[in-house]
């Protein structure tokens, strides 16, 4: 059974600091997703990582995927308050059935001035 573990689950950061959220998964997969959720809002797609070594950046966020280590990271550079939200990683299990995403528990990020 595919399992996805995120850490930390809670993260309180000062503005301007850097930090990394980790996402480990237990079975081979070539498709990993990062989502952001603000309270009461939808899951907003941040990154779709489809191959080993994939690195994507958007603003202060950068995501990478190492399929051999079964690890993805979401790096936050010079955090600002607007990044406060819950971040989820999710993995699409191997095989033809798509969309049966396995989610991590989420990382609740709070950026303080």
């Amino acid at each position: 059974e595919l399992k996805v573990e995120q850490n930390p689950l809670f993260l309180s950061m000062q503005e301007g600091k850097n930090y990394t959220i980790y996402c480990n998964y237990s079975t081979t997969s070539d498709r990993l997703y990062w989502y952001r959720q603000d309270p009461g809002k939808s899951l907003e797609s941040l990154f779709v990582l489809l191959s080993n070594g994939a690195v994507k950046q958007e603003g202060r966020l950068m995501a990478s995927l190492d399929t051999k280590a079964r690890l993805s990271t979401l790096h936050i550079t010079a955090a600002v308050h607007d990044l406060s939200a819950t971040y989820f990683c999710a993995v699409d299990p191997p095989g033809e059935s798509q969309g049966n995403l396995i989610f991590g528990k989420g990382t609740k990020l709070s950026v303080k001035p």
């Binding site: 797609s45 049966n100 995403l101 989420g106």
Partner: protein
């Protein structure tokens, strides 16, 4: 384009009652998914429609849950009779066939009292 729309956004019902949740996917998206997040737990897959057919319903918790997608457009998820443990946030997502991106709705928060 309009996103994935879910309603109601909140529902509070008594144990034993029936509730029907609705999801309108993005127009043209044949894939439609239901997920659920119970308090403190991961977001979990419930089922996947391709057009009006159930492709994968392996995540449906029991036979009190019935999902339909008549005509391959919007979908409903009925819970009958509702139990306390059904409380949580129910998310819907849609995607195009062959596309690795999933667009989520903002969810329906169901509280069973």
């Amino acid at each position: 384009e309009a996103g994935v729309t879910q309603f109601p956004s909140h529902s509070v019902i008594e144990k034993g009652q029936t509730v029907t949740l609705r999801c309108d996917p993005i127009s043209g998206h044949d894939n439609l998914y239901w997920y659920r997040r119970v308090m403190g737990k991961e977001i979990k897959f419930l089922l996947h429609f391709v057009k009006e057919s159930k492709q994968d319903e392996s995540g449906m918790p029991n036979n009190r849950f019935l999902a339909e997608r008549t005509g391959g457009t919007y979908s409903t998820l009925k819970v009958q009779p509702a139990e306390l443990e059904d409380s949580g946030v129910y998310f819907c997502a849609s995607s195009q066939v062959g596309d690795y991106g999933y667009t989520f709705g903002s969810g329906t928060r169901l509280t069973v009292v």
